[in-house]
């Protein structure tokens, strides 16, 4: 198990105020769950907490999260991740799914 946290600069989130949180994915082999929560820290920071069963990939995680925070306006959110060995491409997909759930009407 490896745990770490870091905040990344990001443009402020634009989303309906009534949606406080959003979840994507599941903790399963080669998978992960990602939860976005609103209004955690400052409006121009994405706060990230990662818990992964596969140690030794902190740099890859931080790069993926920094990239996401740069591409999407997610300032003022807290992201918590429970990972069980997901590939980097899946991490990005789950982040986008959770972001979509938070910002767009879901079915």
């Amino acid at each position: 198990m490896e745990k770490f946290a870091k905040a990344f600069p990001s443009r402020p989130l634009k989303a309906p105020k009534d949606r406080r949180w959003a979840l994507a994915g599941v903790v399963g082999s080669g998978n992960l769950e990602v939860m976005f929560e609103r209004n955690a820290g400052g409006p121009d920071r994405m706060e990230c907490h990662v818990e992964t069963s596969i140690p030794g990939y902190k740099n890859s995680w931080l790069a993926a999260l920094a990239d996401f925070a740069g591409h999407y306006p997610v300032g003022g959110t807290k992201v918590t991740i429970h990972d069980q060995g997901a590939a980097p491409i899946l991490v990005t997909l789950r982040l986008r799914q959770a972001y979509n759930h938070l910002t767009k009407a879901t079915t």
Partner: protein
């Protein structure tokens, strides 16, 4: 939205959303509460925000219900301490407030990593289910996922008033691989999917009267079946328990020498095995009803 949504392919939250009236679901202890397993971290296993079960209040056809859905992909939908406590609490609330309770099962039973706590939680949930039944509060188990309902969850589902199954669902106590390990491949070949489904699948369970409804692998069909059953509840007392025991003894006597599940189907009035095997769930129900005349009073 043109794609067909299969119940067994949906996630727990998607199932709840599709079965409850639109927008009626209010989750109890949602993920931001972070009520997670206190044991898994010691074993190097990541926790899940909801400990593998979604619970809450909703309405179905305008009627209030409590509803739970297990998350199969998280450690096999297994019942750990928190998972079990959420399930117990939901049924206790159902009994107290006299609101029917529906549980969408996708679980192999107790989470072995927290075994004792899980076993106790299942026992406590059973007690809460019987509290519901004593107060004539309907309890419904839905079994239609890949994992099915096995171990403690198989037993728990049998404690409920009703079981709604799809052809996909399986119900049992020991899983196929466990049976094969103990009894040998000749006794039970767990890789023979047709055999496994014909002994524990939805169609057979419906035929044996272990499931009260057999429906399409689709949340809409499951929802319709639940709506029909919400009004009813069966009491549990010495008389009904004895009657059920007699029924099971008769079944054991009748089928204990049977090696082929097809013979069980035939004996229960299915005349065309191939047609019945290929039939959809509603078609199968029709076939069973048509066969009823030839077997006499096998169905209640």
């Amino acid at each position: 939205m043109s794609q067909v949504e299969l119940y067994h392919e949906q996630t727990a939250r998607q199932r709840v959303a599709a079965i409850a009236d639109a927008g009626s679901f209010a989750e109890i202890l949602p993920p931001p509460e972070r009520l997670t397993s206190p044991y898994l971290a010691q074993l190097g296993i990541p926790v899940s925000f909801d400990d593998g079960i979604v619970i809450g209040r909703a309405t179905i056809d305008g009627k209030k219900v409590y509803i739970a859905a297990q998350v199969g992909p998280f450690i096999g939908g297994s019942v750990g301490e928190i998972h079990g406590a959420k399930l117990t609490g939901l049924f206790m609330a159902a009994a107290r407030n006299r609101v029917p309770c529906v549980v969408l099962i996708e679980s192999g039973g107790v989470r072995l990593h927290e075994g004792s706590a899980g076993e106790i939680a299942i026992a406590e949930t059973m007690r809460a289910i019987f509290d519901c039944r004593a107060r004539k509060v309907a309890t419904i188990a839905v079994i239609g996922s890949d994992i099915g309902a096995y171990g403690g969850m198989g037993i728990l589902s049998a404690c409920c008033d009703f079981r709604v199954m799809t052809e996909h669902g399986r119900l049992g106590v020991s899983g196929p691989i466990v049976i094969e390990k103990w009894m040998g491949k000749q006794a039970y070949d767990s890789s023979n999917r047709a055999l496994v489904w014909k002994t524990s699948g939805g169609k057979t369970k419906y035929l044996l009267n272990d499931a009260e409804a057999l429906v399409h692998d689709n949340a809409g069909a499951v929802r319709a079946a639940i709506a029909k059953l919400l009004r009813k509840s069966g009491p549990v007392n010495l008389e009904t328990a004895k009657a059920r025991q007699q029924e099971l003894e008769k079944r054991l006597k009748r089928f204990s020498g049977t090696a082929d599940p097809d013979d069980v189907w035939k004996s229960l009035g299915v005349r065309d095995i191939e047609r019945a095997s290929l039939a959809s769930a509603p078609e199968f129900v029709e076939l069973v009803k048509a066969g009823k005349a030839t077997v006499g009073k096998i169905r209640r």
